[in-house]
């Protein structure tokens, strides 16, 4: 089945990078679906139909959050930045400016892990959770 989720030849990408790309695509699709339901709900006059759409949108909120959490777990630097922006009170752009400090603290070179496979490795990483 054709797919446009890879920017580079899939055969040259390590398995974990392919998974990462698939989850990024999934995240985009969930966000799109949330937006689509928002538009449909704005126009729908039938209460029963609207209730079903709200229920479906609720599911998409959950799916989006799960995708995002997976990506954060794979990319600690992304998580660090997000922690300073998400669920923070105050001005969003100011919080984003404050998140820049993560890079200034050296979080992108010394402490934070590289993107999977970016070290030229086989991209094996953690296997915690495997059953055998």
């Amino acid at each position: 089945m054709p797919t446009e989720q890879y920017h580079e030849p899939p055969g040259e990408l390590p398995e974990d990078v392919r998974t990462f790309a698939r989850m990024c695509t999934s995240l985009i699709e969930e966000a799109e679906a949330i937006g689509w339901y928002a538009q449909r709900l704005a126009l729908e006059r039938d209460e029963a139909a609207a209730a079903i759409m709200r229920d479906a949108q609720d599911e998409e909120f959950k799916h989006f959050s799960m995708d995002l959490e997976f990506l954060f777990r794979q990319t600690p630097l992304w998580r660090k930045v997000a922690e300073r922006v998400l669920f923070q009170p105050g001005d969003i752009t100011e919080n984003a400016d404050a998140a820049e400090a993560v890079f200034e603290e050296g979080g992108d070179d010394e402490e934070a892990p590289l993107t999977p496979g970016a070290d030229g490795s086989l991209g094996i990483g953690s296997l915690k959770g495997m059953q055998r």
Binding site: G11, E12, P14, E15, E110, E111, P113, L114, D119, G120, S121, L122, G123, I124, G125, S126, L127, K128, G129, M130, Q131, R132
Partner: protein
């Protein structure tokens, strides 16, 4: 090009893909420690040491009244295993062969995985690594040849951990001999021993080359810390008309933050096999 010098190797993209697939398959099966301990990284080839957050005294002060201490760090160790691939096999891969002879690579992968497991579970003195079984203060619970007693041993180990305030879930690393015996054994009524042990642990049983008998350890996190610089990669060394010389390499450190979070279950002496 990075330090692995892969661009200098006479290997096609398809060849690299098959080498990596074979290595990955072998490694994922054998890297037992990574299935049970916390993994941090990869932090890259330039990452040289783990911060321990501790200091040691420096006896000599260069200026009177100045009291210096020196930071203690744990240097990463770099295991490397050489292997070679025949150029004729690489040519066949380029033609579309799916059954190339990559035995030397497979052996190298198993060997580097074994080194990692041994370092984590048994320790590696010269590399400054204290293994889980050496660090634990708990008395070992010896396994016996009668594996129907195994659930009692595992339950005792779990009870020891609970008594020390170490919560679960728990995992069990089993040396290959014991692992084989466990999956072959059924209890009264035909219930598989493997499933019984998993219920006691509330966690996985892991095939662990390099482990003597078994080790029960907590999977709650924060107790056993594997820090990876360079994750396992294939590098290029040299080539001639017949063979391409390659190697597997990684860099890592390991430390035990909570020695109480594991219990060793050594195999009965008679059934111990040489690694």
């Amino acid at each position: 090009m990075n330090h692995l010098l892969r661009d200098l190797a006479p290997i096609t993209d398809r060849g690299w893909e098959q080498l990596e697939d074979e290595a990955r398959q072998q490694l994922v099966a054998s890297l037992a420690a990574r299935k049970l301990v916390d993994f941090s990284g990869p932090h890259g080839w330039q990452h040289s040491a783990t911060n321990l957050g501790r200091t040691e005294t420096v006896q000599t002060a260069v200026v009177e009244g100045v009291k210096p201490v020196r930071r203690r760090v744990l240097a990463l160790v770099e295991p490397r295993v050489d292997f070679s691939v025949a150029r004729s096999e690489l040519d066949d891969i380029a033609r579309g062969a799916e059954d190339a002879d990559l035995d030397d690579l497979a052996q190298a992968a198993r060997r580097i995985a074994l080194a990692e497991n041994v370092a984590v579970f048994n320790g590696w003195g010269e590399a400054g690594i204290t293994g889980i079984t050496a660090a634990t203060p708990h008395k070992p619970i010896g396994l016996t040849d009668d594996l129907t007693a195994c659930p009692r041993h595992i339950a005792r180990a779990v009870e020891v951990l609970l008594s020390s305030g170490v919560g679960g879930p728990y995992g069990l690393a089993l040396g290959p001999e014991v692992y084989k015996s466990v999956i072959e054994t059924t209890e009264h009524g035909g219930y598989p021993l493997f499933d019984h042990l998993r219920k006691i642990l509330d966690g996985p049983l892991v095939w662990a080359p390099g482990v003597d008998g078994g080790v029960v350890l907590s999977l709650r996190g924060g107790d056993f810390l594997f820090e990876c610089g360079q994750d396992i990669a294939i590098g290029y060394d040299s080539h001639d008309g017949e063979n391409v010389a390659l190697y597997l390499v990684e860099s890592f450190s390991f430390r035990v933050a909570t020695p109480e979070a594991a219990v060793a279950l050594p195999a009965p002496k008679a059934s111990r096999k040489r690694r």
